[in-house]
């Protein structure tokens, strides 16, 4: 009954508003989006799923509604994990209003209250964002003010507490391990080209920026003295001249003992620089990065990606095809030295190699090694990383022999004629699975990977696409000796083959079947087929996808932030729409 009264009140309110403020309503706009991902799990002895652990069904869903009227906007997002799908954190289990905000923005000032997503520079000291496919949301609930005093100058200030799954914001409940602190930050950016009139059209471009972020946390530790205020600062410069661009950012964080760094009292540092050159048909970028003890969370006991205040961008190629993306690098916040070179080139149209449409080539190489750590005491008396100590000493430019990751790949993308299009890529991969995925003692993955992706246009409406992929490990394959005790660490190892055939009818339908086969696993019982069939229907901004079959154990990563997906068998349904 009460609900009806409220509905009626709302209606009456709307009508009265309509009568009294026609123009206000004419400027009102409502938009939103909705998505549900559901998985129905089945037993499958073939891939060792003998027990569903009480979970037959997993559903992740959200609905979002936004309202704008001129400079004013507001919105909210409702989420339901009933329960969460396999591979998502169990803390997500629940339902409720996860996010809401109201915001006013004009050319001079912007004020937002509620859940805030923002980023300072590249994110070294502050970034809050939401990534549905990872179940990741570290929104800051609080207040943000943005000032633009003159053209080209932006000053931001914000404070609040971060989202921690469904933990309430108002009460602080230390008994439930919720030690979340408060996050405060400020950032300023000055774009010289926009603010200095004589530089408006200059070929030389320059902007500088700086940020400071601090957390106020509560020391609940019985063993360590935990600093209750931890500050971090960063400075950045972006330069450009004609076709050249250079950008760099450096960050420093004071001692911040935490579960992630094994409670050491060392300061943190990070540096990233990029140099690029681009002109029509050619582009190249070189990036280098150094990260040392830069995990920054608003709760010192936080695990994995919980309550991250900052974001350390990985610099390596993001693969999207099934086998190449099987071993995706995930950022090591405790220390890494990384470099990447990428070159894109289009062989021009009308040349012998370019043909009628041009030929697109891409080369990428990236490598990540560990930093060098030395004992904090003369004569190596103190073991590295001893909790409660300064941890280690690290020379800034020294690179450890311990390699985490290397990826060298070459891609060719060619439209042959009106009907045929092909993409092919070769990848040489080194992946330290022990460090990245925690399979202790397992040998690194050294593999050659290749794929061919061919599209054939049958006619204006219909097309066929075929994907063939192979992954060949140099050392670990059929015949490699695996001890009974370490079998579990070899679940997806060895050689793989993959094939996919997709038939699409534009604009709505797409049907595909695929098989992924671990034919060269050193452990015989893991040499399984992973068949899947998928039907997808798209209508404007609505997408419905139904797939059935097996999913292999794997890692889903977005931006170097990863979650592991256990092997499963069953049916998956995704429905999403926007309006």
């Amino acid at each position: 009954m009460r609900k009806h009264i409220f509905a009626l009140t709302a209606l009456a309110l709307a009508f009265s508003l309509r009568a009294s403020a026609q123009s206000f309503l004419e400027n009102s706009q409502v938009n939103g989006s909705f998505q549900t991902d559901a998985q129905y799990y089945m037993l499958d002895k073939g891939i060792d799923i003998n027990d569903l652990k009480g979970k037959q069904l997993g559903i992740n869903g959200f609905g979002k509604i936004g309202y704008t009227n001129g400079n004013f906007s507001a919105g909210m997002r409702f989420e339901a994990f009933l329960p969460e799908m396999n591979g998502f954190r169990s803390e997500l289990n629940g339902v409720g209003l996860a996010n809401f905000f109201a915001s006013y923005n004009n050319d001079f000032i912007g004020v937002t209250v509620g859940d805030i997503y923002d980023q300072f520079g590249c994110g070294f000291v502050f970034r809050t964002y939401e990534e549905w496919s990872l179940g990741m949301d570290n929104a800051l609930r609080g207040v943000r003010v943005v000032l633009r005093p003159t053209k080209g100058v932006t000053i931001k200030g914000l404070y609040g507490r971060q989202r921690f799954y469904w933990a309430p914001y108002l009460e602080r409940d230390f008994s439930s391990d919720d030690y979340r602190g408060i996050v405060r930050g400020a950032d300023a950016e000055w774009d010289l080209n926009q603010s200095i009139a004589s530089m408006n059209e200059s070929k030389f471009r320059m902007s500088i920026g700086g940020s400071f972020v601090s957390k106020k946390q509560y020391d609940q530790s019985l063993f360590y003295y935990i600093p209750e205020n931890v500050g971090a600062a960063a400075g950045r410069v972006n330069l450009g001249y004609g076709n050249w661009a250079f950008s760099t950012e450096y960050a420093y964080k004071i001692n911040d003992p935490s579960a992630i760094n094994n409670f050491i009292y060392k300061e943190g540092r990070a540096l990233m620089s990029s140099l690029s050159y681009s002109q029509k048909g050619f582009g190249a970028v070189l990036q280098v990065k150094r990260v040392d003890n830069m995990s920054f969370k608003s709760m010192y006991t936080g695990k994995q990606n919980d309550l991250d205040i900052n974001f350390i961008p990985p610099i390596n190629y993001t693969h999207t095809h099934s086998l190449p993306s099987m071993y995706t690098y995930s950022t090591q916040p405790n220390g890494e030295m990384a470099a990447q070179l990428q070159v894109n080139y289009t062989i021009p149209k009308g040349t012998a190699l370019g043909g009628k449409y041009g030929t697109k080539l891409a080369f990428n190489m990236s490598q990540v090694n560990d930093i060098v750590r030395d004992s904090v005491q003369f004569g190596d008396q103190m073991a590295l990383n001893t909790p409660g100590s300064l941890g280690y000493i690290s020379k800034f430019f020294a690179i450890s022999d311990h390699r985490f990751f290397r990826d060298i790949n070459f891609e060719i993308d060619k439209k042959i004629n009106k009907d045929w299009h092909l993409t092919a890529q070769y990848i040489n991969l080194y992946y330290d699975i022990e460090t990245i995925e925690g399979h202790a003692g397992a040998p690194a993955v050294k593999a050659n990977i290749g794929f061919l992706d061919v599209t054939y246009k049958i006619n204006k409406r219909q097309s066929l696409r075929l994907e063939l992929q192979g992954l060949w490990e140099n050392e670990v394959h059929k015949g490699y000796e695996v001890d009974e005790s370490e079998k579990k660490d070899f679940q997806k190892r060895g050689d793989w083959a993959f094939a996919l055939l997709e038939y699409s009818i534009n604009p709505h339908w797409s049907f595909s079947i695929a098989d992924k086969w671990n034919y060269g696993n050193p452990v015989e019982e893991y040499r399984d087929h992973y068949f899947t069939g998928t039907i997808s229907y798209i209508h404007d901004a609505t997408r419905i996808m139904l797939s059935a079959g097996r999913q292999s154990e794997g890692v889903v990563c977005v931006g170097g932030v990863c979650r592991t997906v256990p092997a499963s068998s069953g049916v998956t349904l995704t429905v999403s729409t926007a309006f």
Partner: protein, 167 residues
Amino acid sequence: MKRLTTLLLMALMVTGLYAQSKSELPNVTLKNLDGKDVNIAKLSNNGNPIVITFWATWCGPCIKEHNALNDVYQDWQDETGVKIYSVSIDDSRSTAKVKPVVEGKGWDFEILLDVNSDLKRAMNVSNPPHTFLIDGNGKIVYQHTGYIEGGEEDLYEEILKIAKKKK
């Protein structure tokens, strides 16, 4: 709290019924490849249609869609005056790569950088590629998610519908 939420939701929905069905572009400022600020709400193309398409360097179907659009872009411009804004949702791990990739692939679109997904959120984009068509009055008249081979033809039909109206 719950009741307040219900009330708020209903009020919003009812308001929405009376609000104009065709929404306008949100007041979000992004940077272009030269680092200049571009306010999305103020985009204009002399009354001609605008296409806004979301993509990322790591999104396969997006690259396909962009290559296909680039092949026909010159013809489309000649016939309808349409302008394509291509919004990269690459975050800081790959922002530095956007320009080399765009130039290396020879695309002619106006590129905007949505580094922390502000516009993506404001326009309710869940997964790229996601394409919007905006008419000469700045109203969103059509949107489409995903890319299927030949999908650009359907977009062009929608563009023709509003480009004709102008004459």
